[in-house]
């Protein structure tokens, strides 16, 4: 199964081979969960929403247009589920700095399972924490455009389809998000020295 492309797996899943859909879940569990957890800032709720996303995707699989990328379509399902959740329940978000267990749990989740040298882990960890903190204060839609564009490599058109927004709005969001993120990091000690190359 793992050697098949997304479209073949979708076709097989529609023929009733649930294992094909299992492979799609295995393939996209981390990108989908990563996007959601950074949007809702709560590991347990993010996992619940991610489950719902895959269940909804399975139920609506026949509506997937195979000329598009499966990942974009799945991100659209994830976007809708996350936005619905944020609107309905007013999710209690957990700031990274908070020392209680929940904050530590979220920080652990966002740090990810690393297989690097301890020094690399430490440096990467510092960078990741600084970035996550800078993103934490951004508006959810700004956080989302940054992740879709720079983490998951979506084109402007794909982002517009995922978020159901006009192309111009996506570009505006992205521009503002980048500026806000830069301001957040400039405020910390990550700012480059003026005389630095």
């Amino acid at each position: 199964m793992s050697e098949l492309n997304d479209n073949d797996l979708v076709a097989k899943a529609l023929e009733g081979e649930t294992e094909a859909f299992g492979e799609l879940v295995r393939r996209y569990q981390r990108p989908v969960y990563g996007l959601i957890v950074r949007m809702v800032r709560n590991a347990a709720i993010a996992e619940e929403i991610a489950q719902e996303v895959f269940i909804k995707a399975y139920g609506r699989l026949e509506s997937f247009d195979r000329r598009r990328r499966f990942s974009s379509w799945l991100f659209k399902v994830a976007h809708n589920a996350t936005i619905d959740h944020l609107r309905k329940r007013r999710v209690p978000t957990v700031p990274l700095e908070s020392p209680p267990e929940e904050g530590a749990q979220l920080a652990d989740v966002l740090a990810g399972p690393e297989r690097e040298e301890p020094e690399q882990i430490a440096v990467r960890g510092e960078l990741a924490v600084a970035l996550e903190r800078a993103m934490e204060v951004l508006r959810p839609e700004h956080r989302e455009v940054l992740l879709l564009r720079f983490r998951h490599g979506l084109s402007y058109g794909e982002m517009a389809a995922v978020m159901a927004l006009p192309l111009g709005t996506i570009k505006t969001h992205l521009h503002r998000a980048r500026k806000a993120l830069a301001r957040g990091l400039e405020g910390s000690d990550w700012a480059p020295e003026d005389n630095e190359e």
Partner: protein, 171 residues
């Protein structure tokens, strides 16, 4: 600054500050690549699959129903086509007069059976009438009521004795 490992971040911030959009995009992509890909808890796939199994995809259901409907239509069409071919040879062998004779004999046999049943019910009705005539006479009615009363009293006494017997054993 933290380390050379984080050049990409500094490169992005410099590009952003200088307004080099294209360079900033490339550098920011590099920065985000350094972010970890958080994973859900172990067994996430199994949980999703377990929740999925009772829900077959809609298309699968539709295909199943469509196949069943198509098979039924084919069967009906086949039957309609074949039935006259099966009936025709029988119609040639069996004459109309013999069919009428057979139907008439069926009617006669049925009416005879009905007549037999009617006479049986008639005799039962006669026996019932005789019994009612006897029972409706006053001395017989009084005697029957007395017997019923005695029976009721006997049952009541027996029931009391049984209760007494049970309470003695329980002690």
């Amino acid at each position: 600054m933290k380390s050379d490992q984080n050049r990409s971040l500094r490169r992005w911030l410099r590009a952003e500050r200088a307004g080099h959009l294209e360079r900033a995009e490339i550098a920011l992509r590099e920065v985000f690549r350094r972010l970890a890909d958080p994973s859900p808890s172990l067994g996430f796939v199994d949980v999703v699959m377990a929740r999925l199994l009772p829900i077959p995809p809609r298309e699968q259901i539709a295909v199943g129903w469509r196949a069943l409907l198509a098979a039924s239509l084919v069967l009906v069409a086949f039957s309609v086509a074949v039935l006259p071919l099966v009936i025709w040879p029988i119609a040639e062998v069996v004459r109309l007069s013999s069919v009428i004779d057979f139907a008439a004999s069926l009617v006669v046999a049925t009416s005879q059976a009905l007549a037999g049943w009617l006479s049986f019910w008639q005799s039962l009705g006669e026996a019932n009438r005789v019994f009612f005539t006897i029972v409706s006479k006053p001395p017989v009615a009084v005697m029957m009521l007395a017997v019923a009363g005695l029976g009721a009293v006997a049952i009541r006494i027996l029931s009391g004795l049984r209760a007494l017997d049970r309470s003695v054993h329980d002690v």
